[in-house]
Symmetry: D2
Subunit: 140 residues, 4 copies
């Protein structure tokens, strides 16, 4: 049985992350999801720089994303963000996030990501490639 | 049969909306979804100000959100954002978004929103209320 | 006497642009200054794409910036942003911004920008170049 | 001679903080300046919450701001942000910031801030007040 790949980090909610209702403006949670996913990949030896230098990947772009919000977060809250690798396919990996303030769950999030390289056949285009074996190995 | 409630607006992709891969950093799509939902509500006579003054609502907060990305958008793209009221329940309404650049679909999005008021029983808390009848009427 | 190069555009203040005090979180003004400068350059035939394709410029990066705030702006305000080319030197151009809501001045801003190209001698570095003559001509 | 009031924190540059040129989109530096100023105030016992509860202050809003950029920062850089109280007047205090990556200076910044309370005479207005003595004492 494989051990789940997880990564935990802290998020400090800033003044400018909150809206006139005094709670986090929700797109910021996705900004934090993205930072958590980068940190998780880096913790597995698969930083953006490594993916770029070794496989020519310009980014682990998003295919599907979602979030469910259960309790608001506010300025000066320190959130614990736990991120975990979920489903792996040939072409995608899923990162599942749970944010908590103490024992209170703030939100859950999900990102389905693929690996993208420059597509020389179309000006400025990008195209998805299969996950490199090394990346797959690092995520399971 | 009710006519679907829709609203269309244009989004100009800015330099700072894009990441080092040259494409829109995805949380910005959610920022635009939020702006589209506010504009749709305003177009139905239910601006934030109206909701606040008439019903004491401090925000139409998010319960669930999601987005599916089909094609990247870049700096200087002008996107057409079409937003539509989907499912209505006693306590929630759903806004469905489709972003296109010309005939190319960029992404779809979904926001399930409720109406929140200040909860005096808990310091700084908020609580969901049933959608006011006038708001329900405006959205169908 | 040269006619001043100016460009005017509208800015709609979004819900997420404002902070818990209900006013624009000030870094967003700089985000708008940047968008205004890009629009001004584009209006003079010097879009980012043109600068990149013709001169290899990867960005008109910032050297100095500043803003003075005179009156707060709020959600749903529509601001008029007037941007003007100020001082031109061999290596820099200045863009001066004034934001107003009706006759009320909200803020003034200033950006001193240079032209940057990739510096092959240092991994990932950038270096400033003299303004191309065509750009100088377009800005005076 | 008074000891300078300073505060140091680390800033991790995120993927979404950078633009298509691969460097930090400059308004994000102002977002970080704001976070640094809040942290400095908190370190002096003058958190936003304290200022609000004790003096009715809704925010330490900006009057003047500026930044000078000397070297670009990139994704995954960890910056040291040093913030220092500068000039104090009856109605304003200045925060001076220096950001470095190792020994390389990235930028300097300056924020002139005042204390604002709700202005009941004008709907939704705010007005500046003199700095409370306790705040002045905490900043020198």
């Amino acid at each position: 049985m494989s051990t789940a790949i997880t990564h935990v980090r802290q998020i400090e909610v800033g003044w400018g992350d909150c809206d006139p209702a005094g709670i986090v403006f929700y797109p910021n949670f996705y900004r934090w999801f993205d930072a958590c996913s980068h940190a998780l990949l880096t913790s597995r030896g698969m930083s953006h720089r490594t993916l770029n230098e070794r496989f020519g990947i310009i980014g682990c772009g998003l295919i599907d994303t979602g979030a469910h919000f259960t309790s608001p977060a506010r300025f000066d809250d320190v959130l614990e963000a736990e991120s975990r690798i979920g489903k792996l396919t040939n072409r995608t990996f899923t990162v599942e996030h749970v944010f908590r303030r103490g024992t209170v769950q703030i939100c859950t999030g999900l990102e389905v990501r693929g690996c993208f390289v420059a597509d020389d056949s179309i000006s400025g285009g990008i195209k998805a490639i299969a996950l490199p074996d090394e990346l797959r190995a690092a995520l399971q």
